[in-house]
Symmetry: C2
Subunit: 242 residues, 2 copies
Amino acid sequence: MLFFTQCFGAVLDLIHLRFQHYKAKRVFSAAGQLVCVVNPTHSLKYAPTRCAAAQASTEQGTLPPCHHHEAVHDSQLVPCTCPLFSCPWEGHLEVVVSHLRQTHRINILQGAEIVFLATDMHLPAPTDWIIMHSCLGHQFLLVLRKQEKYEGHPQFFATMMLIGTPTQANNFTYRLELNRNQRRLKWEATPRSILECVDSVISDGDCLVLNTSLAQLFSDNGSLAIGIAITTSKVHSSEAEM
Amino acid sequence: MLFFTQCFGAVLDLIHLRFQHYKAKRVFSAAGQLVCVVNPTHSLKYAPTRCAAAQASTEQGTLPPCHHHEAVHDSQLVPCTCPLFSCPWEGHLEVVVSHLRQTHRINILQGAEIVFLATDMHLPAPTDWIIMHSCLGHQFLLVLRKQEKYEGHPQFFATMMLIGTPTQANNFTYRLELNRNQRRLKWEATPRSILECVDSVISDGDCLVLNTSLAQLFSDNGSLAIGIAITTSKVHSSEAEM
């Protein structure tokens, strides 16, 4: 009996996801755009703890993820950059993607332009919506975070980080776009490197910031559709061929 | 002696304004765009007082500016819509522009695309930067407001209101654009009618909202340049010919 109840629940979930998928497609109405439904994850750690952990790891000789524009040599180990968990893993930059996929179950999507559909925007802060995006020969991490910077006033922060060095990140431009109900909000910037702590990018406010009221204006039935596009910012870039 | 000191001060101010004008032109680098330097005005009234005053005026039989999508007939009187002062004036919608120019000294600019350069962004809240914009046969009021919605955390709110009815406002789309330091933020929406209280638009958060940190990222030496463009949202509009 329990088995049948669970099966029925799973079928309902699938129908619900499919419905959300079509709604997001209708919102953006661009042919060929991939829509990815991203479910929230309640964040298990807070910014100060993470940066303190990073500080501690510096003393042990590994690279701190909170340092800005730090040069990384191939031989250096980087700590786990997953924004959700305090993870003791460390490894080379090239294996960060497989670690995030395998250990933290973060999905990866292909395509120059995708639609990120974050569900259950009403959930209390802190909550994260995370995917990886593979594009132009590189992998990017998209983080949407609901956080109470000022107590009792949750805000949404969205940013894109390159899983690569700051020098590589300088070759790209990312665009996040919200479009609903005769309103449009676009944010364009150079992605930060994942070696710069995502928590510090968000606390600096150097990202797309939405108040709850604005997030509600752009949401449809509790889901927020964000159009994502990545382009190379330098045409003749040696990094683009890497 | 005092006269010469004042003259010297005035010349220095002119040089400073000219310098800011060129900086804004450099930021937007679009030929033919008009740059308007807008100085701040310390707001002399607060939102609750104004809306209470509007409520009181309703009881006296005039049109409340805080009502949403209220139909206005030509014969009806509207109260002064200046967001800066509690003003006892009332008159017909067609003479609001001349009242705002003559009594409240609000500048008016011509042109489809202009650059609004708000100076002295560091001044404490509440502060307003205001101009009128004449375009496509209509007049618009651009309001940039620094306000502490949450105590101790000032934010910037920018919106454009049509000096006309909500039905006329529906025929237009306005765009506000910030562009500096490899970052770009664009807000596009239908302007609200000036008959809907600007205070309530801002408290609803249905406008371009900037945290202090984001405003600093887009500012240059204490001034914020906002590119403004207005277009008609309906091609075959009967309103466009008015």
